[in-house]
Amino acid sequence: MPWLSILIAVPVLGSVGVALLPKGADKLAKQLTLAVSLIVLGLTIAMAVQFSPGSTDRFQFAETYRWIPSFGVHFGVGVDGIALVLIALSAVLVPIVVLASWHDADAPTAKRSVKAYFSLLLLLEAMMVGVFAATDVFLFYVFFEAMLIPMYFMIGSYGGAQRSYAAVKFLLYSLFGGLLMLVAVIALYVIADKGTFMFPELIGAITDPATQKWLFLGFFIAFAIKAPLWPFHTWLPDAAAQAPAGAAVLLVGVLDKVGTYGMLRFCLELFPDASKFFTPLVLVLSVVGIVYGAIVAIGQTDMKRLIAYTSISHFGFIAMGVFAMTANAASGATLYMVNHGFSTGALFLIAGFLIYRRGSHHIQDYGGVQKVAPVLAGTFLVAGLSGLALPGLSTFVSEFMVLIGTYERYVVPAIIATSGVVLAAIYILWMYQRVANGPTAEKVQGMRDLDSREKWVIVPLLALIVALGFFPKPILDVINPAVDKTLANVSVTEFKPAVPAVAEPKGAGE
């Protein structure tokens, strides 16, 4: 059964269907979108249960069709653990976002087409699945670039006051990176001279160190802009702040992961030597991003911008984990991508609820929400705590693994990065205090608490965060083999403890 093709096809068809609905059938459009996204989720789960982590072949559910033989391009899809969890992430987030942005499109301001919004949403989902599933570098690139367009329209025509500025900035910035990557992609094909873009066959095809370095840069810059890594990050706060909450969730939760995913999948495996050569640089960028993003986040006065900057800090952690090139760090980074999707997603959505009620995204316009809307404030706190990687919440596991894994090989960066936990406490708790604590601001008086729809949006996310916080094993078991294969292709040596401790002492108890 061609699972992945179906996973891509269903949302596309859904999106067309929604687009073809008659004018004014907004409610129907929303319901249809929700239904389609749920079907996709179901299919994803069905696929995931058939996934066998232990299996020897690199990509499962693999399909390969000749697409453009003249260019050696195949429609090649398939997933390993890493891709699978990211696809699952998208599949989980989309229905939630649909539900969350139920009223985003039909805002009173201007007459915007509701169905267009949801149609774009489904189109985006198809591309998100495709970009993670692609096993053909060219196909990956196609999705990588094409994804921009729906998101561009979602920000541009449904966003906030400066939406068009933000949208254009987002599109051009990403496009610029993408075009550099295009050159690298072409060069990869030409130099590798394998006559194909299939990823597995390109591994190890580039041997000349100098070439590797140039191609690496071509790919890396694109991914660094996408992720975004310091100093290529300034588009994110604008885009995330202007985008409607739902779009922001997908933007930061999934689209940006394509960058870090690309680093892990393509930069490392296609250009192992170059990756090692550039590791110091990348680590510096990541660490700077971690601390810098956190500090700037502390200084923000706009809730969504603040969250965006926290994400910049988090992407620093992910990139650091990827390039530390130890099993723990890489697995942690992959898990981080998933968890960050959930936790930041929750934060953005709740911020969206607050803004929708209060009509302002300035933090100082709030205060004492906890008194009038305890549930809302409670969920906000939990989401926030997941943002500061509180143990017992999923983000802790990934952050801990990234840090400890990095520490195995690069002590100083890991230590500096760890200071991020203190800063995280400051920006999250300070925001929470200003929003939810203290005397209730008069504008906040009578703010209504979460209604059932909003609870349905938030509860699944928080449930996932808590569950994965106590029992991450299922996901890690999926990720680890894939990560090991990846690192095997990079051929890095695992670290050895100085004084290896003996295993647990044996003995029969009572």
Binding site: P69, S70, E145, L148, L175, L179
Partner: protein, 516 residues
């Protein structure tokens, strides 16, 4: 010299071209003898039939009688793979352009009448229309066909003029904003004549160098370069000037924006698609066939031209306020992208890839361009087409369908994946990288990033900004225009998702390169 052997002409091979010329002549006769009220109704089927016929004849040659392997008409005309491909492309583009031309009130009622004068009013009331347009178009198209096929500089010069002269006139025949139209005509004419003089002088120099104007002879003469190299250099340079002028490469691009803006939009469409295709065909012949062994000398120069063209086109387009001017600059930038392919010469293998890339690019760019201009004709306000970009604000809200299609075309120009434009760009750039002109490709992508800005800017205007109070009206398109848009959109989508068949065709067309 008393016995002159009668030349042998392979009429079969030249049929597509001859058909167009024949139809053109017929058109003139129609103008001469048919009563005014009948002319249009005769011209339209005649013209369309001629173009369809020539397209069909091309297909016949490709699939039935097979691609010739030697030049025709005593080596004056080369009907080879690339020629046939480009003939097909030109015929198709001309066909859709004619569909646009059919649309009423694009053309002046009576060119001779002074704008705003009484007799202009009379002409309009009488419902005249300048039906000479059709034969003129056919002559121009015939010229294009010959231009791409000419295997001999003399023929090329003639073809150049046959192609250009009707276009000069057509530029001046806009129904509205006639001052602009006439100005465009005079500018295009003077500069065109000027540049063709350069071409001719270059031709003379080359003749002086090689003793012949046959492309293959020139190529043959290259190895034994004697003391007359200055002639060759001068000739190459001036030929280049003439051709680069036609494709609108910097620094010879100055005419393009003015002419594109002033000319009647359907004619702009024809020029932006057909002329560009034809000019590139000729350019390739001159520089690959005639000067093939001289490439070590002309490539570096072409580098400079290409870079200048791409950057100038992209940067200048950013601040344009008129949609047609903006598209003109975008076509300059695209000419630059195509030049990277022209430069990417090397072994036969490499040349083939580059050639097929260029052929494919020309096809997809031409179709999308015609579609874009077709939409431009549909957005009108009191004074005719709403050229100024500010008038396009909020179009996406008023007529989403139209704006959506236009946005799609713009994305294709910008080379976003899943549009035909992307594969065109990819085909050329990949050939260029393989040909070892990576830096040029880098410049190319950077300038296409810049170029993306102004395409995106139009989308922002149409979709993200609120409509102006007295916004332009979108006229219900005539069948012709509608079908043009539909065809262009379809082609852009299909070639953007399944380019393979067309790529194959281009590969086959390029497989044998040019006959000598």
């Amino acid at each position: 010299m008393n016995d002159i052997a009668a030349p042998t002409i392979e009429y079969g091979q030249l049929a597509p071209m001859l058909l167009v010329f024949g139809a053109a002549v017929l058109g003139v006769l129609v103008e001469a003898f048919a009563p005014r009220y009948l002319r249009r109704s005769i011209h339209i089927p005649l013209t369309l039939a001629a173009l369809v016929g020539s397209f069909a004849l091309v297909l016949v040659q490709v699939f039935v009688s097979g691609v010739p392997t030697s030049p025709a008409a005593m080596g004056a005309v080369a009907v080879d793979g690339p020629t046939l491909f480009l003939w097909g492309v030109i015929a198709a583009l001309a066909f859709v352009s004619v569909l646009l031309i059919n649309d009423e009130d694009n053309f002046v009622a009576q060119a001779a009448a002074v704008p705003g004068s009484a007799d202009e009013e009379d002409a309009e009331i009488a419902g005249f229309s300048q039906t000479e347009v059709y034969p003129l178009v056919l002559f121009a198209v015939g010229g294009m066909l010959l231009f791409t096929a000419s295997n001999d500089l003399l023929i090329m010069f003639v073809a150049l003029e046959v192609m250009s002269l009707p276009l000069y006139l057509l530029c001046g025949l806009a129904r509205r904003r006639r001052l602009l139209s006439q100005e465009a005509a005079v500018k295009y004419f003077l500069l065109g004549a000027f540049s063709s003089a350069f071409f001719l002088f270059g031709m003379a120099m080359v003749y002086g160098f090689a003793g012949s104007v046959g492309l293959s002879d020139i190529n043959a003469a290259l190895p034994n370069v004697g003391g007359q190299e200055p002639l060759l250099v001068l000739g190459t340079a001036l030929l280049g000037v003439g051709l680069l002028f036609k494709i609108g490469a910097a620094p010879f691009q100055a005419w393009k924006p003015d002419v594109y803006q002033g000319a009647p939009t359907p004619i702009t469409a024809l020029m932006a698609s057909g002329t560009l295709v034809a000019a590139f065909g000729a350019l390739l012949r001159v520089f690959w066939v005639a000067l093939g062994n001289f490439d070590w000398d002309w490539r570096p120069v072409m580098w400079g031209v290409a870079i200048l063209t791409m950057v100038a086109g992209a940067i200048l387009a950013i601040t344009q306020t008129d949609i047609k001017r903006m598209l003109a600059y975008s076509s300059i930038a695209h000419a630059g992208f195509l030049l990277t392919g022209v430069i990417a010469t090397g072994a036969a293998e490499q040349n083939r890839d580059a050639l097929s890339g260029i052929l494919f690019y020309l096809l997809v760019y031409g179709i999308t361009t015609v579609g874009a201009f077709a939409i431009v004709t549909m957005v009108r306000d009191a004074g005719g087409e709403a050229g100024h970009l500010s008038r396009w604000a909020g179009l996406g809200k008023r007529s989403p369908m139209l704006a959506g299609v236009f946005a799609f075309f713009l994305l294709a120009f910008a080379g976003i994946p899943l549009t035909s434009g992307f594969f065109g760009k990819y085909a050329v750039f990949s050939a260029a990288v393989a040909g070892g002109v990576l830096p040029l490709v880098l410049v190319g992508v950077v300038s296409s990033a810049i170029a993306a800005f102004f395409y995106v800017r139009v989308i922002v205007l149409m979709f993200f900004s609120d409509p102006a109070a007295d916004g332009p009206t979108v006229v219900g398109p005539s069948v012709g225009t509608a079908s043009v848009v539909a065809v262009a959109a379809a082609a852009t989508v299909v070639l953007g998702v399944f380019p393979e068949p067309m790529l194959d065709l281009a590969d086959k067309a390029a497989s044998a390169l040019f006959v000598r």
